[in-house]
């Protein structure tokens, strides 16, 4: 790791103000992704602001009947929360499909949203990568691209977003609440929070420098049959090739969100609308305009089959 200094913030205000005043500062919470990247010198902060003790670790009901999840709530605690298990089961399921018990004990809600891609060329500092080093090129497109994105990509980058949790958050129309050094608060719909790569794959989200995620809020429960299916190379502890989060409503409507196939949690209105026409139609709508590589074109068929499996799971429960 490159040398850095360390401080422990005592309040949200102190954390945001330190971030605004110290050049090259980064927040650290769980650290499970940031420290990994710092060891490889892909991330090289000059100062770490430990935000683990600023009181953002509560899960509470909102006035609207939804849920407010503090930024520092650990993945384990969010997945195990009684209300989440009962009313937002797809979120519990997505969290539990990710990482390992040890990692979920450290990983936080906000950190999970901000985790970087697992593209092997992003990690390999000897190789070109437009996300790691803007303008250097993309080694993935003609390299090992089996696990990478097939839609939402650009000529600059085909990296996938690795999160399971964020896919469920996208399905549930979560909002990301932030705070800046001057005390300004804003709420960003998760649909807008992550950015597609375009010409600037190193810019991954809408946060401004020093802006701190305070919480993620969920709208009131939507009921229905909630399922999450993750397909991967191992039965456990592996990133998704394809994952699908779904809510099947009692009125025949449905929502779908997808992981492993795009640079951000992927959701398409036309896919939701196609539910009556079956899983193949939903997959076709979700993947319209996909530009897979020869190595990851299989994800298209895999998405359709994963959806078919979820439709059967829903039928079995009905």
């Amino acid at each position: 790791m490159k040398p850095f200094t360390y401080s422990r913030a005592a309040s949200v205000q102190e954390a945001a103000q330190t971030a605004a005043s110290v050049q090259g500062a980064r927040f650290i919470a769980g650290g499970t992704n940031l420290l990994d990247l710092m060891k490889l010198q892909i991330e090289t902060p000059t100062h770490l602001i430990d935000v683990n003790h600023i009181g953002l670790n509560r899960i509470e009901a909102t006035d609207e009947g939804g849920l407010r999840i503090g930024a520092l709530v650990r993945n384990t605690d969010l997945a195990a929360n009684e209300v989440v298990r009962r009313d937002y089961a797809v979120l519990s399921r997505a969290l539990l499909a990710g990482a390992s018990g040890q990692l979920r004990n450290k990983a936080t809600t906000a950190g999970n949203l901000l985790q970087r891609t697992r593209c092997p060329y992003f990690y390999d500092t000897r190789m070109p990568c437009n996300k790691r080093k803007p303008g250097s090129g993309c080694a993935a497109m003609k390299g090992i691209s089996r696990g990478l994105a097939i839609i939402g990509t650009s000529d600059a980058c085909i990296a996938q977003h690795p999160s399971d949790m964020a896919v469920a958050m996208r399905l549930l129309d979560a909002n990301v609440e932030t705070v800046t050094a001057d005390g300004t608060r804003r709420s960003i719909p998760i649909a807008d929070f992550h950015l597609l790569p375009g010409d600037t794959p190193h810019v991954e989200h809408r946060l401004t420098p020093g802006e701190l995620i305070a919480a993620v809020t969920l709208p009131p429960p939507i009921g229905g049959t909630q399922v999450y299916r993750k397909v991967r190379d191992r039965a456990s502890y592996a990133f998704a090739l394809v994952s699908v989060a779904a809510v099947f409503g009692e009125d025949g409507s449905a929502r779908f969100a997808f992981g492993g196939i795009a640079p951000k949690p992927w959701r398409v209105d036309a896919a939701d609308a196609a539910v009556g026409s079956g899983p193949k139609a939903v997959a076709d709508a979700a993947l319209a305009g996909a530009q897979p590589t020869a190595q990851n074109a299989f994800k298209q068929g895999l998405t359709a089959r994963t959806l078919a499996s979820l439709f059967r799971q829903k039928e079995a429960r009905a």
Partner: protein, 169 residues
């Protein structure tokens, strides 16, 4: 250098550390508790698993300075050669290792994992989110963060099942 106070295996320790020092390196290189192993050093293998404030974590992916004032339990704190922890004894009884390198991490992980089941924390293998039920599938899923390249998995599961009082499944 940053001053760090930890309680490790019940003993208060005071260290002066470069902030870059991971908890794993603090334990091994500064406190000479070499039971905790460095495998991948990237949170992929679980060999460095220790229990901090009652929870199992990868000690390679956290900085020692972030644990000021916290309680850390390593394999040395669970038991000793003369007084083995039940999980250590079960690993011996069931031959839950071959080379032994992953074993301290497996044992720390298993001890804390059973506490997670007792605390009704669900897993990917949990059928009904309303209630966690003990099964081999639960154990295998919950231990997936601890890799054993000798593939002693069947015997590791047997050892954990034994400690959990679930006998032969």
């Amino acid at each position: 250098m940053d001053a760090v106070e930890l309680t490790v295996n019940g003993r208060d320790v005071h260290l002066q550390l470069d902030p870059r020092t991971t908890l794993l390196d603090a334990l091994r290189e500064h406190l000479h508790l070499t039971g905790t192993k460095k495998g991948c050093d990237h949170g992929q293998c679980g060999a460095c698993t220790v229990i901090v404030e009652g929870r199992r974590i990868n000690s390679c992916l956290t900085l020692a300075v972030m644990h000021e004032g916290e309680n850390v339990t390593t394999i040395e704190g669970l038991g000793s050669p003369d007084n083995l922890h039940p999980m250590q004894r079960a690993f011996v009884t069931h031959d839950g290792y071959q080379c032994g390198y992953c074993t301290p991490g497996q044992i720390c992980s298993a001890v804390a994992m059973l506490e997670e089941i007792a605390a009704d924390i669900p897993s990917h293998a949990t059928q009904d989110l309303g209630e966690v039920e003990f099964s081999d599938a639960e154990l295998r899923e919950r231990m997936s963060g601890n890799i054993c390249r000798c593939a002693a998995y069947p015997n590791i599961i047997a050892a954990i099942r034994d400690v959990a009082g679930e006998g032969e499944a």
